[in-house]
Symmetry: none
Subunit: 218 residues, 4 copies
Amino acid sequence: MPATPGTFLNLPEEKRKRVLEEATREFAEHGFHQASVNRMVSRLGIAKGSLFKYFGTKQGLFEHLFNHAVELFKAPLKDIREGTRDGDFFERIRKSMLAGVDFIEAHPRIYSIYLKMLFQENFPMREKLLGEIRQASTKFLRNLVEEARKNGQLRADMDTDMAVYLLDGVMDRFFQSIALPFLDSSAGLYRADRTTIENRLDTVIDFMRRGLSGTGAS
Amino acid sequence: MPATPGTFLNLPEEKRKRVLEEATREFAEHGFHQASVNRMVSRLGIAKGSLFKYFGTKQGLFEHLFNHAVELFKAPLKDIREGTRDGDFFERIRKSMLAGVDFIEAHPRIYSIYLKMLFQENFPMREKLLGEIRQASTKFLRNLVEEARKNGQLRADMDTDMAVYLLDGVMDRFFQSIALPFLDSSAGLYRADRTTIENRLDTVIDFMRRGLSGTGAS
Amino acid sequence: MPATPGTFLNLPEEKRKRVLEEATREFAEHGFHQASVNRMVSRLGIAKGSLFKYFGTKQGLFEHLFNHAVELFKAPLKDIREGTRDGDFFERIRKSMLAGVDFIEAHPRIYSIYLKMLFQENFPMREKLLGEIRQASTKFLRNLVEEARKNGQLRADMDTDMAVYLLDGVMDRFFQSIALPFLDSSAGLYRADRTTIENRLDTVIDFMRRGLSGTGAS
Amino acid sequence: MPATPGTFLNLPEEKRKRVLEEATREFAEHGFHQASVNRMVSRLGIAKGSLFKYFGTKQGLFEHLFNHAVELFKAPLKDIREGTRDGDFFERIRKSMLAGVDFIEAHPRIYSIYLKMLFQENFPMREKLLGEIRQASTKFLRNLVEEARKNGQLRADMDTDMAVYLLDGVMDRFFQSIALPFLDSSAGLYRADRTTIENRLDTVIDFMRRGLSGTGAS
DNA sequence: GATGAATGAGTATTCATTCAT
DNA sequence: TATGAATGAATACTCATTCAT
């Protein structure tokens, strides 16, 4: 059972949290291969053997981390999907993107890990893990798009697949533009504050609305 | 002369090419730290010592590669900067972006290395090397923007720095959207053909034109 | 604690001894740079990683060895310094030199390492390590000389520094003359037995007594 | 013909000198194994292949150097052996030692190489090369001692072998005491000037005279 | 369940020596 | 004769993983 997180779940909440935080930090700072299990355990003050008992391998630890992060990310989207079913489509998209911004600001290291993975083909399980995210994201957006179509909020001549693909691309790139300055000690220059971010977001939403909304001519 | 690549330049053209291609492949597939000099030489069928004679260190090899790539990238931009001085600003930007697309299609691995570097803070010389690219890119765009302003092709109320920054961001993200599918063996799905790319490019140029052109009200 | 030898001290006495003996042998036979960690571990039958766990680096191993040897060497001198405070000065010197001879006979390889270090400027930490020995030796001799002066056993017109310097030189050279034949598989010829050594020592002591003792005219 | 110095002897005097000086410097500074042929040729500005053409191997170069140095050292002793046959024995010894001091001051690097070799068992050809020196030195001293015995200048009860052995030891150690400060950047303190050296030499000669001269009682 | 010593294949790098030009 | 590119065995050192206690 390679995916079994071993004995980790039996640990006291507090310790579990410390372990995951430390691991997140290590992977975010060094990527997967350069991350050092030695460094983790010595900073945690636990035995090396323990970590391997918990997760089997370094990769097992990473996957646990990743899945945990995905859960964290999905949680607020649930409310949007279930709680605003009749609302304006673009308002729902806007809320989703704000949730994304919140996530990045609350867990910049996790987002940094995601970006590293996106551009490093040799991340272990890269295809599988990215696939899961894409699938979840696609499923979520498809759900929104289909309800929007029912409500006539979407251009009739745009098929669902394409709409989802475009939305996904725009959203992803928007998040990147928010996050990159976090990673770049060199740039710093243009790190946006919350107001700026929301303004940019409005522009983006406006752009989508023009491109996708039901009233739009060709 | 810190950039002196040792005895490498004395080698026959053919061999130099093979070496650089193999090294590019290795760095593109594994990033800097996971790239293995052992693997390179065994694939090249040359002695390990030879590679170190040529470049001194693994990092020296990487820097040579990088500088070589920067030259490759810059070359076509020269014609645009010098040869179309009176042309339409957005047409010049369009040509530049097409040159970028050409580069990515001709050297996807080099672009992949660039992306890795962008998202991996622990790449050696990252700040310096990215800085060089940023500087060259900024200088090129600033030149174009200033000439556009002279010709009244640019909104009067947009200062040069901001225009350059926006252009740079849009271009970078456009290139990424072209390149990502190349990296992703999983996706494949939506790898765009040339026509699609040019269509997308037109959309982007149109977007820029609306945002920046001289006739545009605030 | 820069001198912390990692996990080495947790090892069973027996293993620690084997490791130190093998390392001493390797350094004594080849000096620092030519000594091979590979050879050590393969002779010890342990993994390469283990040695580096214990000492961090080759140099760390050497320093541990060196400090250990210094302790071994100092131990018998303690009795002389503390236990014979009222005795004849030259008798105390004689005892010290006998202790030195004992050390060389018990640990010829350690003494050989010391000699190598003395004549090889590129030994790592040479200045520091030799400095430590010189300091300990100087302190010990200065103590003896000062007590001798109090008891009127020393020429009044010879200042303490000079006396210490001369004693140190004579002792060092005496030890060398004892040890050199140990190093020389070729010579063998004149390797002195214990009686001969003690006779030579008496001559040397006599020489010192004539040069330094309190009754000596200028 | 491993001992053949190859084509080296065909070189113009000037170049030969430069090569030997550079090699001497390298071996003196780093010992045999740490000496780098690369460094030598790059400092000399000649091709690596050339050096190997001249001497076959690094060891061949060293042996050539060594033999050359031995010739240099022997030259002045010839005059003493042949030109002062009836003079006072101890005066002849004194002259020999002065010649040694002169040599050390003129060629400190060569003497430094000799010392390194003395205490490093892993010097290549160590036994052979040191043996040659010992043999030459023994032969020279034996010659002097025998003539001294004929002239009644030597204690009758001291056999020739022992006399030679003692003289050799004293001389060697005297030279070392002169040379060590040259090697020791740390010490510096007591580097003797010429007058001091000659005073010390007088003391040593006096010491020998007391121990060995014909008038000395048992 | 926790520990941490042991492992060994892996890494980048050096350097005396060879040999085709 | 002189050159210098090519070689490859050697070096010190790292690190995820295992397992006896």
